[in-house]
Symmetry: D2
Subunit: 341 residues, 4 copies
């Protein structure tokens, strides 16, 4: 990610907007652990700077229907450790249409909000970009997505927690794998990106990992399992991303059963990966990004995604962020293979 | 459970067998958290009483093939907190046949074992009863089953851990249920018994619970969900036992979708319920039962299941234990309904 | 505990009071995990029976100052899994005086409450008994105490969670004990009762346990540690109850250092034992007790502690409950010693 | 950290040593979660490259006494998730002296080891540097330290786990803080560096943080607590690093009690921070570093610390690593203050 596409918080952009007096904040798309920590950071950073905050309920939908209410510092007390989002979230059909977005803009104007902070995933970033384009309203986006698939940032809020939750589940499965059953296929979240799968596979000491980005080489996988059995490994775990691109865990399990004559045990981790108290890392990331978003608004920075690149909080202009491409590190997949011998 | 069918450790039986000099211990059937704590308790209680212990690998199968080795106190160090079973387990086809059992008895005799301790579930109890009947060898059975379906005891080793693991998973789901999705159907373990499902449903504040023992009244369930929505409940969770008797979670989810027009989210907890560090209660139960089994052998008690009834460790003669019937407490199902309003 | 001192929910007492129309509920004394589950059960059981509920804030103190507000079923949504108490708690100086209690009674009368449910520990039971004696108001007490020291019940709400929290901490310490340091002294809660210490010691596979109820035999303990070292044990953990009666962990550690020339590592678990999501068992206990308290009021039962004895929910008249004595099971201490060889 | 002081794995150094045929691996200093994952990565990376591995027991001490044995891939099965270190560790007095180091070098030579991998903290790095200087033996150091105080890397193995463990403990304390007690002072690890304290303080939403690197401004801290109370905050948590430089938690608690007339609750988290299953991040870091160390030896790179800088695995020559200085990010301390309003 090149330096020209993102700016550090210290740098002043030209043509800065006026400092906001009131900002609205919402959480959109699927919920992710750390959204509450981000909301808290936005509210308190704003209040510390003398800026009022309006909390929007149920994401873009609440913006369309005008479901906003003032949020004080006390309103975000004791939520930093909570999963889910106290602002609630939804997928909004109305906001996909220009009419809906116009109603949203009207509500913001009526309530005196002169900027918007959106905490959400890739779809929310797209919505925010369109909304900013149509209204000119300053919008800052905090990437929150357990799948870690938001462009313009190395890490999204919720990813670290989801990976740890999945790993904790696999640690339990491992007990049975070593005591009784021998071969487990575990499906994790990530329909379009294998970040969870790869991180989990390294952490779980898995035999192999199947991700949407890379076509499955079934022969290679079979060979790995066979070699692993020949080497006398007592237990093998294969991690698979969910969704149509990998086919999920079932066809793979069937193929393994056909080849080796033993029925692999199947586990679909599902929605448990989405909840739970955020990890330290997700709280820290959310807190830094939330403060960074408010600072960007105070600085009059262009509407941006507030990301983390190589450990630093950066501002990536919305349209540039959307053009970026998230790529899996092939070295990690290689690491899975090399360490499972 | 009447007093005449079980004896307290203090009571001396008539015609007591000679004190054993060497006992074999094995874990059989599906693994359960606390099996290691039970193994440790058997080994150390025996060694403290000057009795040698042989550890059998892979359950009854290792007995048939003669896979036994001496276990010292040091061999069970640092395992009390481990899920799974260091002795490993299996389902043994060979032990189902008399020939296999004869080989097993021969191995025990050759190695000098004059008693056997079996840590396992209902099937293991059945096998132990037949084996004792054919060989006359003193056998003590420790009930270990996350499903809590072993007759002759109120609680089996592993149940408390499995319920807490399932509940921890549902606590995560709850975050999403309150933030975003509204209706969750969660499938838990227990093909033939609803103990896990009912305990989880109470602990999770579920709307309803579907168990194998009680035919599903779909109209009643639909009415509950409808009333719950009318009362303004933001989130509903329905807990379902796995397996053919309930049909599992899919048909129920389909019926709910058909009726309410919203797709319930489905979670199948699966094998994660079987692993993990045992809870305090399971470690305590396993420790007491393990010590109780060795004491029963020292006392020359008849071959028994070592159970817990109303808080006390009891000995239930094997054939009597097998005739007992485990019953769900209907008051708990009623409690689920009354507290979900 | 004899059958004559406690009644099962089915049994009708003579001279039953009229069915209440409105009950007040409060949490008093130190907070315990499961208090929220109990509050939820009281509120929903009452509402299901057409009885109004007033929630009292900050324990007896809120009763004295009149800090009561109506609680609906929705007010207790999504709290079953939360540690602490949403009603808050306190130690009330005012309620210790008759004047304070008279003000409390006046507030209850003015607000139409014709019964009170108290969720708290031994001190709260004492307060409830005096208050009932002076006012004649029906009072039901739910025992909630991580120390498990409330008379009239085998288990108090919060105990199971506290023990599991302490055990989880010791499992972490065990990693270091086996890798590096050799001797750990761990102080757990329970100033006047060793229930936590003994349960933790069994579950942690501790070498020894020091409790307030039994004078420490230092020679015996030294001998145990020495033998354990001679047997080649790589790590030893000693569990000690806090407080003046045991002296806590420091003098013991000093004595061990003096004798063995190695500085034992000291860990004081402290307040972490008091918080966290309640375990399945504590949620179940709290739910059953909460429902049981409301049922007792509906039945017009005498003012009672709602306890659990040998697995069943029982009503123990307040003055009888207070005369009962909680006793440690010496067999468990013996079990610690026998299984640590 | 400038580019000239560290090299990326791709870059070839001049004068590369011959590819090793056998390497020894040890864990030294205080144990840290992830040490086992690192050991596994070293062993399997080496074996995959046809290099033999000798495991050294009890750190440098085992090197001095010649306690080495061959480790196969199977020897590191099922340890990636374990806290502590299966190789054990110690503080070695003998290795501090040249005579001890000469014996260590002799043992390595006799056993055919032509390189050494050390997994440990700052002291272990110092020892490795001296040993390499005296013997010329290639040595790679993997930084493992919960305190995160090893120079030459942004993150050390074990830090992320320790922070999450501390945070989980404070989440429990928070329950009580909001229900009952109001002011908590929590002491975390880090005698000479405040990394744990600052990360925990952000994640816990603490009021203030006291670290060894910055002299405590007691007036400022008192003012913060007072303002927080004036703003109506229900609960306040202050995080303090252990050790003589901060004075630990006691003097601070006394000062707060003197000023506000309420006794703050004190919690010393202690050794629980050192254990437990490593987080996903620590397993990933350990796996990458372990593989990176073996690759560095294969590449014939100069003896280095294998660190992570800005997300990338780097090689920092031992003498350069030791000159680097770890600095707390003052922006994080500022973040604690700004988000606790």
């Amino acid at each position: 990610m090149s330096a020209d596409s993102s700016t550090r918080p210290g740098e002043s952009p030209a043509g800065a907007a006026a400092r906001p007096r009131c900002i609205a904040v919402l959480t959109a798309g699927g919920d992710a652990p750390g959204m509450n920590a981000a909301t808290r950071a936005v509210v308190r950073s704003a209040q510390g700077a003398g800026i009022e905050v309006l909390g929007v309920r149920r994401g873009y939908d609440g913006l369309v229907t005008g479901d906003l209410e003032p949020m004080s510092s006390r309103a975000v007390a004791n939520i930093i450790q909570r999963g889910g989002t106290v602002l609630e979230t939804s997928r909004s059909e109305a906001f996909r249409h220009q009419g809906g977005r116009e109603r949203a803009a009207r509500h913001l104007k009526e309530r005196g909000a002169d900027a918007l902070v959106v905490i959400g995933g890739e779809g929310s970033l797209a919505g925010a970009t369109v909304f900013h384009g149509e209204t000119g309203l300053p919008v800052m986006v905090l990437p929150a997505s357990i799948d870690n698939d938001v462009p313009g940032t190395d890490y999204s809020i919720g990813f670290d927690t989801a990976v740890n939750t999945a790993l904790d589940a696999i640690d339990r499965i491992r007990d049975t794998a070593f005591a009784y059953e021998r071969l487990f296929c575990v499906e994790v979240m990530g329909r379009d990106s294998g970040f969870i799968a790869v991180a989990v596979a390294v952490g779980a000491g898995a035999e192999a990992v199947v991700v949407p980005e890379i076509p499955l080489d079934m022969d290679d996988l079979m060979r790995r399992v066979e070699e692993s059995q020949n080497r006398g490994k007592r237990a093998s775990i294969i991690v698979v991303s969910e969704g149509p691109r990998t086919g999920g865990v079932l066809p793979l399990a069937r193929a393994l059963a056909g080849r080796f004559g033993i029925e692999p045990r199947i586990v679909v981790l599902g929605h448990i990966q989405r909840g739970g108290a955020p990890t330290a890392r997700d709280r820290l990331l959310a807190s830094r990004m939330g403060a960074g978003a408010v600072q960007a608004l105070i600085d009059g920075a262009p509407s941006s995604l507030i990301g983390e690149e190589r450990g630093e909080i950066v501002r990536v202009a919305l349209d540039i962020a959307r053009q970026k491409v998230r790529k899996l590190d092939p070295a990690l997949i290689d690491l899975v293979h090399r360490l499972s011998i």
